[in-house]
């Protein structure tokens, strides 16, 4: 019982629940099933991106280019859909994922083969990918009336009165959960992050895993490129600008350690849900949207400090026992 109560994921879940109740008291309309399902839909893209970012953070790296990658893939398929509206929607989704994966592989190659530190690489591609959107689109927007009906319809599909986006996030959660907990790939990722030198000695190829992790991150960024464009039915140079920070904060709040090798898939999802809840609850309790950035910044800082404190405490206890 004590184990459950001190479990990080459980505490996070409790915080979300308490937060939900507190907002419910302030504004009862916020806790109706309809409104909660809206929050879940709204958070789904964040959940998917946080889960893929988690894979990168596990091996002691960060992918700052996800938002630019998302926006570039989204813009490219939107431009294609204005020229060829007759193509089936699955074609666009697949294409978006392929573009995203390619952009992710470029990151991976730069880090693993050219040995450019991840922070330099992804800061660089953050602006390169964002800049390319201006080039391909000429700075113009693609508006909702320019998309085919088919392109936008899938996103509004509902099952058990929950949206397609939500079910997709659930599917991604299951896939990543199995990948990280029940495959050799996942175990190797954790060991690479936990101790890269030891992992190399037992024959895990660091370069291979760096490229794979960034391709996965790119793949889901591409997927979210379609989701984002279809959900908001607009593609512009500005979409998702700065969203990489929200994604990273979701991971950090979810207990994924930036020192690598630590963190659970469930924690990551809960972190994303908490961030999503805060983003949606602020307007419900009459806090100006301009405060949102400052509040997420403060939350990231608090989460990092709490994470480091608990990690340091663990280290201390190990040393006492020895």
């Amino acid at each position: 019982m004590k184990k459950i109560l001190t479990n990080r994921d459980f505490i996070l879940f409790a915080i979300i629940l308490i937060g939900l109740i507190a907002v419910g008291f302030a504004n009862p309309l916020f806790v109706t099933p309809k409104s909660i399902s809206d929050v879940l839909t709204d958070t789904s893209i964040l959940i998917i991106l946080a889960l893929s970012q988690m894979i990168v953070i596990l091996i002691r790296a960060i992918d700052l280019s996800v938002a630019s990658n998302l926006a570039l893939s989204g813009m490219l398929i939107s431009l294609l859909s204005t020229v060829h509206p007759e193509l089936p929607v699955y074609y666009f989704i697949a294409l978006s994922c392929v573009i995203g994966t390619c952009l992710g592989v470029l990151n991976g190659i730069s880090i693993a083969i050219l040995k450019v530190p991840f922070i330099v690489t992804t800061l660089g591609t953050l602006s390169i990918y964002r800049g390319l959107i201006y080039f391909v689109s000429d700075g113009k927007q693609v508006y909702s009336n320019e998309f085919s009906e088919d392109f936008l319809a899938l996103i509004h599909y509902k099952f058990l009165s929950l949206s397609f986006l939500f079910w997709l996030a659930v599917a991604v959660f299951i896939v990543i959960y199995v990948l990280l907990n029940h495959t050799r790939f996942g175990r190797n990722l954790y060991s690479l992050g936990g101790n890269p030198d030891a992992a190399k000695y037992i024959g895990i190829s660091e370069n291979k895993y760096i490229i794979l992790a960034y391709s996965i991150s790119g793949f889901f960024a591409g997927l979210c490129g379609y989701l984002w464009v279809a959900r908001y039915s607009v593609a512009s140079t500005q979409i998702a600008i700065g969203f990489e920070l929200t994604v990273i904060s979701a991971c950090v709040v979810g207990g994924i350690s930036v020192m690598g090798g630590v963190g659970t898939v469930l924690g990551c999802v809960l972190g994303a849900l908490l961030i999503g809840l805060i983003r949606n609850a602020l307007p419900a309790v009459d806090i100006s949207q301009f405060w949102q950035l400052a509040i997420s910044g403060a939350i990231i800082l608090m989460a990092i400090i709490i994470n480091t404190k608990t990690e340091q405490r663990k280290e201390k206890t190990i040393m006492v026992e020895n």
Binding site: V116, V120, L126, L245, S249, A294, G297
Partner: protein
């Protein structure tokens, strides 16, 4: 036995990073002056320094930060906070010197906040400054919302867009003087030596009696202070402050430093290299601007330059090692 310091050879200069950077700079100047007849105009060249002087001022302290194996992604957001303080205190009708002091203080406080969290909790600076990057920018947004400041003391406007003796922009002059000071500190004093040893091996530096945490804290405070100085020049030049001021500058400033040959994981680099790389980037974007290449083109180019300037040398090194 420790070998003697190798004798000075003229040929060695050719292999120095600074020399390669210098060749790049000269070729950019030659290409630019051949492409556009307006490039070699003295007034144009002097005015082009307005485009990079503010960033260059922060790049000096950022060089120290990166040499000491840290990084600061929050500088552009600190500019936003300090510019807001500048605009707000002006609107309250404070005396010019009080306005400037409070602006500088706000920057230093933001930097000290970074430094305190990084040293007190032993958290990597990259993740802390990712957090404060949105915290500080968010503070500017929540304070200004969708309004803006356009009234500043006369002195600030003069500093931002004025010239000393009608020729040298104040921002550029400040940068030149500060770069001399910083080159002296880094290369000729014990403080500079300590920076390198902290960057090479923080643990070893700690054991040799260098107060690593103290220096780290001072570096981040200084970086914040210099962001505030840049904020004063920038606000004076733009004569309007919105919360999105200097958006994305952290990347450009880090590019200046890293392109100048400062190793991103600390321990090596020189002020001369950074100064040359600042001129390379400045002249490059000025030249591209004269050719009517849009700003996005310059952004993409900067990103590519950043990755290739690190990637290419290390790639060559790997191939050479394989051949041996």
């Amino acid at each position: 036995m420790i070998p003697d310091k190798p004798p000075f050879k003229l040929l060695d200069i050719l292999y120095k990073k600074e020399f390669i950077l210098f060749i790049v700079l000269v070729s950019i100047l030659i290409i630019n002056s051949n492409i556009s007849p307006y490039f070699l105009d003295l007034y144009n060249l002097i005015d082009s320094t307005f485009l990079f002087s503010e960033k260059a001022i922060i790049a000096l302290t950022m060089t120290f930060v990166i040499i000491a194996r840290q990084i600061d992604l929050s500088v552009a957001s600190i500019i936003a906070v300090s510019s807001c303080v500048l605009g707000y205190t002006t609107s309250l009708g404070y005396d010019t010197w009080l306005v400037i002091s409070l602006t500088l203080l706000s920057g230093a406080l933001c930097g000290a906040f970074n430094g305190a969290i990084i040293t007190k909790f032993a958290i990597p600076s990259i993740i802390v400054t990712i957090g404060t990057m949105s915290l500080f920018r968010g503070l500017a947004y929540s304070f200004l919302e969708d309004s803006y400041y356009n009234k500043f003391p006369k002195l600030v406007s003069n500093l931002g867009s004025g010239y000393l003796f009608g020729y040298i922009p104040y921002a550029f002059l400040t940068f030149l003087l500060l770069s001399l000071v910083f080159a002296f500190i880094l290369h000729k004093t014990s403080v500079g030596k300590k920076m390198y040893s902290i960057g090479n091996n923080p643990d070893a530096a700690q054991y040799t009696g260098i107060a690593v945490d103290k220096y780290t804290f001072i570096l981040f405070t200084l970086n914040g202070l210099f962001s505030a100085i840049a904020a004063i020049f920038l606000s004076g030049r733009l004569s309007s402050v919105r919360p999105n001021i200097a958006f994305g500058w952290e990347l450009e400033i880090i590019t200046m430093v890293v392109l100048g040959g400062v190793y991103i994981y600390g321990g090596s680099g020189s002020i001369l290299g950074v100064v040359i790389s600042i001129f390379i980037l400045g002249m490059l974007s000025f030249g591209l601007g004269l050719l009517n290449v849009p700003g996005v083109g310059i952004i993409i180019f900067t990103g590519l330059l950043l990755i290739l300037s690190i990637g290419f040398p290390s790639f060559v090194r790997t191939i050479r090692r394989k051949n041996e």
